[in-house]
Amino acid sequence: MEDLAYKVMVGLEIHVQLCTRTKMFCGCALGFGEDANSRVCPVCLGMPGVLPVMNKEAVEYAVLAALALNCEIAEFTKWDRKSYYYPDLPKNYQISQYDLPLGANGFIEIASGSGQTKRIRITRAHLEEDAGKNLHTAGDFSQVDLNRTGTPLLEIVTEPDMSSAAEVRALAVELQRMVRYLGVSEADMQKGHMRFEPNINLVVTKDGAEYKTPIVEVKNLNSFRALERSVDFEIGRQLGEFAETGETMQMGNKSTRGWDDAKEVTVLQREKEEAHDYRYFPEPDLVPVELKGRWLKDVRAGLCELPLKKQMRFVSEYGLSEYDAGVLTAERSTAEFFDEAVKAGGDAKRVCNVLTQVGLKLANEKDCSIVELGIESEGVAQLCGMVEAGDISASASAQVFEQMAETGKKPDVLARELNLIQKSDAGELEAIVNKVLAENAQAVEDVAGGGKKSKKARGFLLGQVMQKTEGQANPKVVSEILDSKLG
């Protein structure tokens, strides 16, 4: 195969499940893993004569997410019916939004390496209801569970602005972090709270001319890994196919493929010719939504500093590494706790170390978040200050931190109780050093003799001082005294 120059173009369609208590148009509780068909009512079962009623919270969550995605919010938005013929949505249409989505023309920033960001345009964001689940494993028939039917979904559509599988993944991860910060979705991949459908094609340059390959949509991906790998696979596959057939993008030659997770390949899905004939029409059972004035202002008040911005601020303002800033901003509560501890006087890098090395580990063990450990951010700042001042060692700070979570006591109280306060008084330590030197004449001689032996002897003397103080001497101070004595 000849080497062809090419650019990758990927747009994403993302479905995000909102974390309301109840469904979009009825009062059935949302859940996961309940008995099949236990969370259903006449509305979501599509019984004749029922009427849907909008869940206000779902609309507010969707608008908040659309605002965070920098969308223009429609003052007037409405519902439409989209024809649908599978048994997991028994009323034979999905309530969605067609021509007047609640959000449009936005953008999201994603990290593109070395502190840079890239802007991906958002075409639209709209609300709709989810379908239930069809299961095909039981035999020569299908089983239908309608518990999920009617769950509020936010559908987000991007422009084809991503130019690699890594960028597609970055957007997905950023969006997950964003909706969690906003509190509009748990975005739990294991529970199918985020589903992705990338649209992929290439612009190939051959003999000085550009050719676009036919667009492929990969359906229903529910992990970051499958998303990234399927895009990578498609890039290779489309390049090979173009080299072989030379087929280019035309009206009507877009195709749909599924992802085979075991074989790690995309597989062509045969679709009925009329599959995309959705025959949208206005939903007569629901009145429009007007988003303006006081209500919109109230929803807007739910915005917060978004994760990527926070992460970049932690790097520029506090001098953290990109990696550490990423770890701290993975969850909003942790990021805010860190910020508070630094504002309370803690050294940023030390607070970061305590939280990432001790706090997150402890939180992990207890299966909770850092804030749920019950430690005050001021306490962490104080603890870091004690390490900074040499009152306790960095390793002792881990023990104190754990006890702070355990007892709720202040770090200085705990350090005393646990006998972790270091002796830093030079006068007191000098007397001990003198004693050790007097008792170990051979070692002193070895130090003076230089070479490998000297280093070892010096370590021995330091060890003796630590032993005499029962480990409570500040090693830095002892080392300085030894230096001055031994030259």
Partner: protein, 102 residues
């Protein structure tokens, strides 16, 4: 006056609606649907310049409910009228086309 809708369109709409029509029915509905469209066509006589499109026939907006849980039917009641069931599931003919997804 020419028919507003032809046999081909009726057949297509029937297919989309998962309806099986006989030849006689296709002919009958082609006539009926054309008559309906003729009737609606009268609306085009109105001058609609400067008239806002209507999204809904009621002069209402923002009719909401609070996000509070109401008791669901439960599996037994939900399945009571199902033509076929398999344990707690509705039982339906095997779905072969996998390209669905809301």
């Amino acid at each position: 006056m020419p028919e507003r809708i032809d046999r081909e369109q009726v057949t297509k709409v029937a297919k989309l609606s998962r309806l099986e029509l006989s030849e006689a029915e296709v002919a009958e509905f082609t006539g009926q649907l054309s008559a309906i469209l003729d009737y609606v066509e009268k609306m085009n006589e109105l001058d609609t310049t400067d008239i806002e499109p209507l999204a809904h026939c009621l002069p209402l907006s923002n009719v909401f409910r609070e996000d509070s849980v109401k008791e669901s039917l439960g599996t037994e009641k939900a399945l009571a009228n199902a033509p076929q069931r398999d344990g707690p599931f509705f039982k339906v003919p095997k779905i072969l086309d996998e390209s669905f997804g809301a």
